[in-house]
């Protein structure tokens, strides 16, 4: 059975939406980070799908996805490090704590 491209893109968009929704609603920094991963993965999925369906004889989307995964990993690492720092400083990873600077 041929799955049309749409079958992949819809989950991708759902992932994007979930990621954004999760980012906006979660209270815990780690959970937010996980939401971010969802968005990144949605992008990766897009790349792969477009590559596979639109340009089957080329590889750029795939390569891009690999790099993107690596970058996502790096980002997560830095983010985790900073979250740990915050945890050390204030004893929690609740996002409502880090809103002292405003207006």
């Amino acid at each position: 059975m041929d799955l049309s491209m749409l079958w992949y893109l819809v989950p991708s968009v759902v992932m994007l939406a979930c990621g954004v929704y999760g980012f906006v609603t979660r209270k815990n920094l780690i959970a937010i980070l996980i939401s971010l991963e969802l968005i990144l993965n949605s992008a990766d999925l897009n790349f792969v799908v477009f590559n596979r369906y639109l340009f089957p004889d080329m590889m750029e989307g795939m390569v891009f996805t690999l790099f993107s995964i690596a970058i996502a990993a790096a980002e997560t690492a830095v983010a985790i490090a900073i979250i740990i720092n915050v945890y050390r400083a204030v004893g929690a990873t609740d996002i409502n704590i880090v809103n002292k600077m405003k207006h």
């Binding site: 906006v24 409502n96 809103n99 405003k102 207006h103």
Partner: protein
């Protein structure tokens, strides 16, 4: 004639002004006074030479086939507006300017001399002489103007000199406000003058008097039938120019400044507000007379204004207490006489005779005689004030014994103004009345009545000062005649007033330069003389000795008397208009508008910016999630809007 003399006539006074004005503080009073008097004396001599050369030399430069010419002794470019509209500064010599040269320099010299005595103890003596010189310069410049714009320039300058001299006692608030009033009222009138010049010069493309007056019809043609509100452009121009004259000559309704101007030193009143500056309006009309003639509606306007003013001022003069104010109103009335005389002089053949010349000549004649006797009266009043230290005649009375010279000269002045033969006023007034009767019997009758009133109030004044009842304060402070510096001018002017009537004026000054033979019109002369004598008799009955008549008359028409005493409330009306409407209404509301609406709008913009700044600060909530939401929604919105816009 070369240009040296005319230039000197203008240059000496202005040099005196600069020397005394700038260097005055370093001079003693005596030096300043002597300098001033010498300067003016020289100017007078030069002016006499010029005038006599003009009138009597018979040189072909000035008189051609019995017709006196208008000569521009020099005329240099001062400012070029356009190729054609060029303002020159020059020196015109014709019958009226020559006559005015004589009048101005004579009176001015007398006043200079007189002031030496009168102002002896006043601070700012040097400044006073500087201002007098400035005035003389401006007035001379005015009368010798070769073009209307030069006249306007000096017109403004005499206004300022008048302002400075009225406000000479600048520590007195009344003097300050009087000077301000004089300046602003005349400035307002000058606005009319200016607009008149604008209109006239726009069409005629010339300022020059000779160009304009030698061919008045072509000026009328040049307006090309342009009309505004039913009157031709030239009529408007001439009426507006006359408005300027109304201001300077204190015609109704712009007369209100002149009585107040009596706050100035009395010699100044004699010079400026009796003899010279206030007749500038008359001079202006005379100067542009041919142009007025081609639009006779404007001359009718002149006549009406003059007639109303003459009567009004005469009535008011009958009730005033301040002797200088009486003289001021008398001045207004007499100038109005001259205006009427000019107004009736237009070129309309009645039974085949052109009466143009008569009114004009008579007006000028009266200008001359009036200058002399009115200056005399004012200087006499000055002597009185000098003696009793008050302007108010209730502080006077019975002075004939104490001040014989003053008394005699004052009486001569009164007789002259009342028009009693053989004093000068008789001759000029007679000619004027003749001209008026010739035009229309109504003007003649009306002005004869005014002449009667004149005689009455002048003798009322005379009796109240010199007869009536002695002021008891004389005992402690005995009045006496003035010092010689003051007496000499009185005597001189009195002498002139006695003989001036016999000058063959018609031979010298006429509208077109051709001689006019004066002949006394018997009927007119008899009527006016009778009226004058009757009026004097009435005044004698009422005021020679202290009695109940004046009070009784006053109580007969109390409303009328009060109204006349308050000058029919003109000042109050003006006060209301200027203070309540212009200051209170217009100025204040504009200032309010500026501060609150215009400025408010600018501040409001700043305020709105600040408020917006505060209103949107919630965007920067400090919440990462909110930031991201903004971010994401912003991106989507951007896409959505663009997408919608493209579809």
């Amino acid at each position: 004639m070369g240009i040296t003399l005319p230039i000197l006539i203008l240059a000496i006074p202005v040099a005196m002004f600069l020397i005394l004005g700038i260097g005055g503080v370093f001079m003693s009073r005596k030096t300043a006074g002597v300098l001033g008097i010498l300067g003016m004396g020289t100017t007078m001599t030069l002016a006499y030479i010029v005038a006599f050369t003009y009138f009597f030399s018979g040189s072909p430069e000035f008189i051609v086939e019995g017709v006196r010419q208008q000569v521009q002794l020099f005329d240099v470019t001062w400012l070029a507006f356009t190729q054609k509209l060029v303002v020159n500064i020059g020196f015109i010599l014709d019958p009226i300017s020559a006559m005015m040269l004589v009048v101005i320099t004579t009176i001015s010299f007398m006043v200079h001399l007189y002031s030496w005595g009168y102002m002896e103890h006043e601070p700012g003596f040097q400044r006073y002489y500087a201002f007098l010189s400035l005035f003389s310069f401006s007035m001379l410049g005015l009368v010798v103007a070769t073009n209307i714009f030069q006249m306007y320039i000096f017109w403004e300058l005499v206004g300022v000199s008048s302002y400075l001299l009225i406000g000479f006692f600048y520590k007195l608030p009344s003097a300050v406000s009087a000077s301000k009033k004089a300046f602003i009222v005349t400035r307002f009138a000058d606005l009319g003058f200016l607009i008149g010049i604008l209109v006239l010069s726009y069409y005629s493309e010339s300022f020059n008097f000779i160009t304009l007056t030698h061919n008045p019809e072509s000026v009328l043609m040049s307006t090309g039938g342009a009309t505004f509100m039913g009157c031709s452009a030239l009529t408007w121009a001439m009426v507006l120019i006359f408005v300027g004259g109304m201001g300077k000559s204190a015609m109704m309704p712009l007369h209100i400044w002149l009585p107040d101007a009596m706050e100035g030193p009395t010699p100044v009143s004699a010079l400026i507000h009796a003899a010279t500056m206030v007749v500038a309006g008359v001079y202006l009309v005379a100067r542009m007379f041919p142009l007025y003639c081609v639009v006779d509606a404007s001359l009718t306007f002149v006549t009406c204004v003059g007639a109303i003013t003459a009567f009004y001022a005469a009535v008011v003069a009958c009730t005033q207490l301040d002797i200088k104010r009486v003289l001021a109103f008398s001045t207004i009335s007499q100038i109005a006489f001259m205006m009427v005389s000019l107004g009736v002089a237009y070129d309309r053949p009645i039974e085949g005779i052109h009466y143009t010349g008569l009114g004009y000549m008579a007006g000028m004649f009266h200008l001359f005689t009036h200058a002399m006797f009115k200056a005399l009266l004012f200087l006499g009043a000055g002597a009185l004030i000098h003696a009793v230290h008050s302007n108010n005649y209730t502080k006077m009375g019975g002075l004939r014994k104490y001040m014989p010279i003053t008394h005699l000269t004052f009486l001569i002045g009164c007789l002259a103004i009342a028009g009693i033969w053989p004093f000068s006023g008789f001759f000029s007034k007679d000619e004027m009345l003749a001209a008026m009767f010739a035009n229309h019997w109504f003007w003649g009758a009306w002005m004869t009545m005014v002449a009667g009133l004149t005689a009455f109030y002048m003798f009322r004044l005379y009796y109240l000062i010199f007869w009536w009842d002695e002021n008891p304060e004389y005992a402690e402070h005995r009045p006496h005649d003035a010092p010689w510096q003051m007496s000499v001018p009185l005597i001189f002017l009195a002498a002139v007033s006695c003989v001036a009537g016999f000058i063959p004026f018609g031979e010298l000054v006429t509208w077109n330069g051709e001689p006019y033979h004066i002949h006394i019109e018997g009927a007119v002369a008899a009527t006016s003389l009778t009226v004058a004598v009757l009026a004097i008799a009435l005044a004698t009955v009422m005021y020679r000795k202290k009695n109940e008549w004046p009070a009784r008359v006053k109580n007969m028409w109390p409303g009328l008397w009060t109204a006349a005493y308050h000058r029919f409330y003109w000042d109050e009306i003006y006060m209301f208009i200027t203070h309540k409407i212009i200051f209170g209404g217009i100025c204040r509301s504009i200032a309010w508008f500026d501060r609150h609406v215009i400025d408010g709008a600018m501040n409001g913009m700043a305020w709105i910016t600040q408020k917006t700044s505060f209103a949107i600060r919630g965007m920067q909530s400090g919440q990462i999630q909110a930031y991201v939401l903004w971010y994401f929604l912003g991106a989507l919105l951007l896409a959505a809007v663009t997408w919608l816009a493209l579809i």
